[in-house]
Symmetry: C2
Amino acid sequence: MIREHTVAIGPFRLDGGTTLADVEQRVTIYGTPRPDGSNVVLVAHALTGSSRVAQWWPGIVAEGGLFDPAEWCVIGVNALGSCYGSTGPASQRPHNTRFPRVTVRDIAGAARRALRILNVERVQIAVGGSLGGMQALQWALDAPQAIGNAIVIGAHDHHSPMGIALNAVQREALELDPVRGLRLARKIAMLTYKSEALLNRRHGRRGDRNGKPYFDVEGYLDRQAELIASRMDPASYATLTHAMDSFDVREHAVSPSKPALRFVGITSDWLFRAQDVRAAAERFADRGFDAEYLELRSDHGHDAFLAEPAALRALLEPFVARCAHYASC
Amino acid sequence: MIREHTVAIGPFRLDGGTTLADVEQRVTIYGTPRPDGSNVVLVAHALTGSSRVAQWWPGIVAEGGLFDPAEWCVIGVNALGSCYGSTGPASQRPHNTRFPRVTVRDIAGAARRALRILNVERVQIAVGGSLGGMQALQWALDAPQAIGNAIVIGAHDHHSPMGIALNAVQREALELDPVRGLRLARKIAMLTYKSEALLNRRHGRRGDRNGKPYFDVEGYLDRQAELIASRMDPASYATLTHAMDSFDVREHAVSPSKPALRFVGITSDWLFRAQDVRAAAERFADRGFDAEYLELRSDHGHDAFLAEPAALRALLEPFVARCAHYASC
């Protein structure tokens, strides 16, 4: 059973001080929550994702998948600032009013308020990759009483200077031209999501497969750019990359109640390096969390959390089974 | 003694089939060549360099440096297609006529013709980093009788798919807006020239040092963009990145006469990975060259060949001394 709600959460005060009036959150729910929330999984999306998590993570949220809606109640919430049903730059009235900066804490807080309105007071697991992983960790720190476990994939406890700089050049492309700039930003981003080994194997120095007078890897980027142009609002892209840049929870206050944390590093990820993910897991363990580092061995790069669902599932299954066991106790 | 020449090399037929009329090459010469060329070093420049090699490589070409003009005759040639005195898009008449593609072989061939006109028939060493390293290797393969040794730094025997893709997104920025796009292209390029470790150390997540409302690393990129805007022609930038993309000498014919080759990989270089530089050295050794791999240990990234002259000098000094010894025999 899939239900989709547009939840009015009222005025929402942002970290930056602005209060947004009449904020809405688009929520998609797969399966049925137990009253105590013990089977609820919140799946947080990355930069260009939506609340329809089974669409963009089909190998994970699916019948027979890591999170089977027959057993789990899987909830996706479109991030504040995005363009898939939640309040963001594209939903502003009048249109194109300058939308304020939002932080990952704002995104997580707005989602939490929407879930409370839907009578979901507690989630057993928050999970996500990249910006989604940042959200999962933010939940664990901001609302430890409302979450049992967090799985942080291809992300860690702060955005790096290289990540900040790569987001900045992507936003600069948007400033040159919202439409063509979004295509360019996506191309830059795709290179940060893929590994050199993957490009070598898939494209090499071959000419374009459709006979265009350039290299195959250029044709690949063109196809990726086509896909993004029709489905992403440039202002949302800017808003959510700023949110990523702002993310740094290394000094976040720690509550006595501590959700269990699992950090997944991807060996070939050069945007969120495995060594940095490991270091974050160690920092949280040092602060008293049940925090462990797991490694997804893949040559795919950052996008392995999307591209390698079978390996990711195998890696996470023991922990998820433990969460389910606790849930049923 | 520094001399600068603009050498008319006449019509020049390009690899792509087009013949350029009235080609000129800007040549800068530091020191005095011996008649047999035994003290001549050709220093080939990278993407945005010029023939004035002592300006952009002051730690290497200098009194007391690795190549001291008191001993060596150091020659720089502005690459065909560039904008520092040699024929390129900006020198076309009528202006902005579409300039044809050039290859690294074209660049090396035009430079060689200019040197012959200046009565330099042979160089003892060709050396360069990045696109300059490609040129040095191209000299060794195309004109083994005219060159004794080649030093290839932060480059190898072909441009990688990741490198091609990164050049493509930079050219796409130029297409959006020649002026602001060049700034953006330079920012993207600077990120490929630096390592994550360097950005962590230099910039971290600090705010901008001049108080602008962004991160320090963004201010750094802005300053780099300012510097390029005033000194580089966007069409030359496109021409020379295409030349890099075309570079692949893995199947190049090998002459019985084989210059000695030294390949320098930089440990933190993610644009031209050290492992790929090492593999290229091994391929040339397998083909009968006196080819060796040297490693510059640096956390600076690709730009270490510019930023770490003392370490580079220490690494290359034994080989250069051997070249000088042979030269004086």
